[in-house]
């Protein structure tokens, strides 16, 4: 079953994708599977192991199931300050 997911990109992911956000449909079941799909499609250099993921503005485990209309953010290693 496919769902529509809203994805927002920051930092190196935004530059590698060439845009800041997009709406996509996917048949994948979890955040991890979805990132792997996107990585193949957009050529992201970072492996999932170096990222965290947030759904609807909260950190979630990579195994979190995707639901119709979720807003996803993949979070590269941070460097505040």
């Amino acid at each position: 079953m496919t769902k529509t997911i809203h994805v927002q990109y920051f930092a190196i992911l935004r530059e590698q994708r060439g845009l800041a956000q997009e709406k996509l449909t996917t048949a994948t079941a979890t955040a991890a599977e979805f990132y792997d799909e996107l990585r193949g499609r957009h050529g992201f250099t970072l492996e999932a192991g170096r990222l965290r993921v947030a759904v609807n503005d909260e950190f979630v485990p990579w195994g979190a199931p995707l639901r119709e209309g979720d807003r996803l953010v993949f979070i590269p290693p941070v460097a505040g300050g």
Binding site: T45, V78, A79, G81
Partner: protein, 147 residues
């Protein structure tokens, strides 16, 4: 209060918010854009944040600091956007009755913020290259634009 700001930070105004007759100690930390990093001459920085989650995670960190230390109040503001050398990138202020708690909480907040809050920093070097700090080692394909 933990805030992401696209405007210059005003430390005097923030510290004024912290005034409290019970406080005997105020510790502050300022992060400034410096002219070198890892031996590279830095010319400018871009900061970018995933603001809604950054402010939530920042608020969690302030709450943890209050649990670990006897703190009367704490504020952290992180700047985003294009910054020049010497600009103030992040300000942390903590007040407490005693200095040990003020120092401890101030250090905890900046350490955790740098490790956990979704804020990214892109350095622009004198040689024309750029790197997203921490996203990759300089010079690798992932790291940014080679000079």
């Amino acid at each position: 209060m933990f805030k992401i700001s696209d405007q210059p930070i005003d430390p005097a105004a923030l510290q004024h918010q912290l005034r409290d007759p019970r406080a005997g100690a105020c510790a502050t930390f300022e992060g400034w854009v410096r002219n070198r990093n890892d031996g590279q001459a830095v010319e400018a920085l871009d900061y970018e944040a995933y603001a809604p989650l950054a402010e939530k995670e920042g608020a969690r960190i302030l709450g943890e600091a209050r649990e670990k230390f006897s703190v009367l109040n704490a504020i952290c503001v992180h700047r985003i956007g294009s910054l020049q050398l010497g600009d103030l990138a992040v300000w942390v202020g903590v007040i407490a009755e005693h200095r040990g708690d003020a120092f401890g909480a101030c250090r905890y907040i900046i350490d955790e913020a740098k490790a956990r809050v979704p804020i990214w920093k892109k350095e622009h070097y004198a040689d024309g290259g750029t790197v997203w700090i921490n996203c990759a080692t300089r010079g690798s394909a992932a790291g940014g634009t080679p000079p």
